[in-house]
């Protein structure tokens, strides 16, 4: 794809020279989005930009309207978290038509002629590395494990990337692990909980669980507790647990020794890059269409060392 170029008209900016940036999030219903939202706003404020905000409650139709409203208000740039890769295209196109640069935070758009820049964690790699770490722990026990994955909304590229990362890691370790349960959560806590409860019911011998997002962990923990399978690492009956995001609850579980590992998205890096990209586009600079956040895996071994870079360790 061609590199995005900033809009030619910087005319939208106010006479006082302050930029106005519209921030449209699909939802704020997980800690990760809240942390990202706060980080972006903080970054914009330090750069003396005025922030307009809009949350779409998971409705792409509403998000489209909100982006149009931003355009009506004459913002200089737009930062957006879309619901999924494709339904955001009309919104991007609307921004393109108005000559306003648009940057997607954490979820890139699908293939299209509409132009946008995206900042995204390398979901596949982080998930794969996290899962590989879990499997390493599994191998140490010397037994064969039955595994469960709690999946996200399969319309979301992130969810797919994480699922594929997990699958790739498993594919290389067929000898010690068999995936017996795939719980579709659609990014919904209650669905996840019901799914996990029933999964554990049908397969009481599950001993490894990977969740595609940390915000589902409390539901999983509660299901584990009611099945009496929630134990610290090293205790007998411990279910190997891995997550993705690195939020506060998860970090606490890590500290307390219940969680084995989680793949961390570097929110600060992503927020900073996002804002930088918008600014660059407004100034007319070239920006590559996809900026990747390499992320990292935090686990019992590197906990102290990685804590400062883990957003969940800092938001408390």
């Amino acid at each position: 794809r061609p590199a995005a170029t900033g809009g030619s008209n910087a005319a939208g900016s106010k006479p006082d020279g302050r930029l106005t940036i519209g921030v449209a999030f699909e939802t704020l219903q997980t800690e990760y989005w809240v942390a990202g939202f706060e980080a972006i706003k903080a970054e914009l404020t330090t750069r003396d930009a005025e922030v307009l905000e809009a949350i779409a409650d998971s409705d792409p139709n509403r998000q489209l309207r909100q982006v149009r409203n931003f355009i009506t208000r004459g913002v200089d740039g737009i930062i957006m978290v879309p619901k999924d890769a494709k339904s955001c295209i009309p919104a991007i196109r609307a921004a393109n038509d108005a000559g306003i640069p648009i940057v997607l935070f954490n979820r890139p758009a699908g293939e299209t002629d509409a132009v946008s820049v995206a900042i995204q964690a390398d979901n596949f790699r982080i998930a794969k590395e996290t899962t590989e770490f879990l499997l390493e722990q599994a191998r140490k026990t010397g037994q064969k494990h039955k595994a469960m994955i709690v999946m996200g909304d399969l319309g979301d590229v992130n969810a797919i990337g994480r699922k594929d990362g997990f699958d790739a890691a498993v594919a290389g370790n067929q000898d010690i692990v068999e995936v017996v349960s795939r719980v579709p959560s659609e990014w919904n806590q209650e669905k996840a909980q019901a799914g996990v409860v029933n999964g554990l019911q049908a397969h009481p011998d599950i001993s490894l669980i990977f969740t595609s997002s940390d915000f589902l962990l409390p539901s999983i923990v509660s299901a584990l507790k009611s099945a009496d399978k929630y134990h610290k690492i090293g205790e007998s009956g411990h279910v190997i647990l891995g997550g993705f995001d690195g939020d506060a609850t998860t970090f606490k579980m890590l500290e307390e020794g219940y969680l084995d590992a989680t793949g961390v998205q570097d929110v600060y890096f992503e927020a900073e890059q996002t804002v930088q990209a918008v600014m660059d586009l407004i100034e007319g600079k070239d920006v590559p269409p996809l900026i990747e956040d390499p992320g990292f895996v935090i686990h019992q071994g590197n906990m102290q060392e990685m804590a400062p870079r883990t957003w969940g360790a800092n938001v408390r």
Binding site: E53, R65, R73, K86, I89, G155
Partner: protein, 319 residues
């Protein structure tokens, strides 16, 4: 002064007056509200809601309710997109794909509505439960058809209905006016009113209740399909969860307008006013850059206010 207030409150188009006052206020308070571009945004947002709310109004006239409206929107969205999409669509690249898809959407919408109507009219099951189950069945069906994935890559001839606001506007106006004429000027509309007011009386007066109810739900399903066309084209996406969160907006707009949930009192013009008010609130508060919780609360507050004024009106009228 009080007299003037009373006049306004009693005028039957209270919601319209409220919307007008509200718009005036916002023209002053919300930057960018009183611009042509924003007017376009508002109209754009109103159109699909107006269409589907028209169907709902007709259903409410008979003391029924159609909870399956959003599910029908989703199903027809999926059906239409599935036929026309460039990614392996049933009739991908076929020149007549778009008209056929639209026809199928209308057909599917009407048929699902007819199914509702048959359960309600012939089997005499309560509308709430019938349409609730239909909602679940139909939503499940659309998710199963797509395996929960959205369908993209729709051809330009289809997207035309979303991009060209003139066409969308014309469609919505035709639907709303037909709905209103149906209710006020036709024999069917008169029968629906009697069915809603007192079904026993309607029966002894020789009104064919069953036919009326069948027609009602089929019309509602068809309206949902038309709305779905606009929505799908606007979003360029056929999705099995299209509009799933908007059910309360649909019923809300109708009821705020003044249509009764207990039947016998329904009017599409009122509904249009309700749609306008809801959309104005959404749009203006967004422009005011309120956080979405404040928007929600404000919306709740305004709906409450509208209902309160409506109550006042009714009380004054009785004096």
């Amino acid at each position: 002064m009080l007299r003037i207030v009373r006049r306004i409150v009693q005028s039957g188009y209270l919601t319209l007056v409220l919307s007008f006052l509200y718009a005036l206020l916002m023209a002053w308070a919300a930057p960018g509200f009183a611009t042509l571009a924003n007017a376009t945004n508002i109209v754009d947002a109103m159109l699909p809601l107006l269409i589907v709310a028209t169907g709902q109004t007709i259903v409410l006239m008979t003391a029924g309710i159609d909870l399956s409206a959003t599910a029908i929107i989703a199903l027809t969205s999926v059906v239409g997109a599935w036929i026309v999409t460039g990614d392996d669509g049933l009739l991908a690249e076929h020149p007549a794909a778009t008209p056929i898809a639209i026809l199928c959407m209308l057909l599917v919408g009407s048929l699902v509505g007819l199914g509702n109507g048959m359960c309600i009219a012939w089997v005499k099951m309560p509308p709430f439960i019938v349409t609730l189950s239909t909602m679940m069945l139909v939503s499940g069906l659309s998710e199963w058809m797509t395996q929960s994935r959205s369908i993209y890559n729709l051809p330009d001839s289809f997207l035309f209905f979303g991009k060209n606001i003139g066409v969308a506007f014309a469609i919505a106006v035709v639907v709303a006016i037909s709905g209103q004429l149906l209710l006020t000027r036709t024999w069917l509309g008169a029968s629906l009113k009697h069915i809603g007011s007192n079904p026993a009386t309607a029966r002894t007066s020789g009104i064919q209740i069953e036919r009326g109810i069948l027609a009602t739900y089929a019309i509602s399903g068809c309206c949902a399909a038309i709305a779905s066309l606009l929505i799908t084209a606007q979003l360029e996406t056929g999705s099995p969860v299209q509009w799933e969160n908007n059910l309360l907006d649909i019923i809300g707009a109708t009821v705020i307008g003044g249509t009764s949930l207990f039947g016998g009192r329904a009017n599409v013009a009122w509904t249009a006013c309700g749609v306008l008010l809801l959309t104005l609130i959404d749009n203006s508060l967004n422009l005011l850059n309120l956080s979405h919780f404040s928007i929600m609360m404000a919306k709740g507050g305004v709906i409450l206010l509208a209902a309160w004024l409506d109550t006042l009106r009714n009380r004054w009228e009785q004096q």
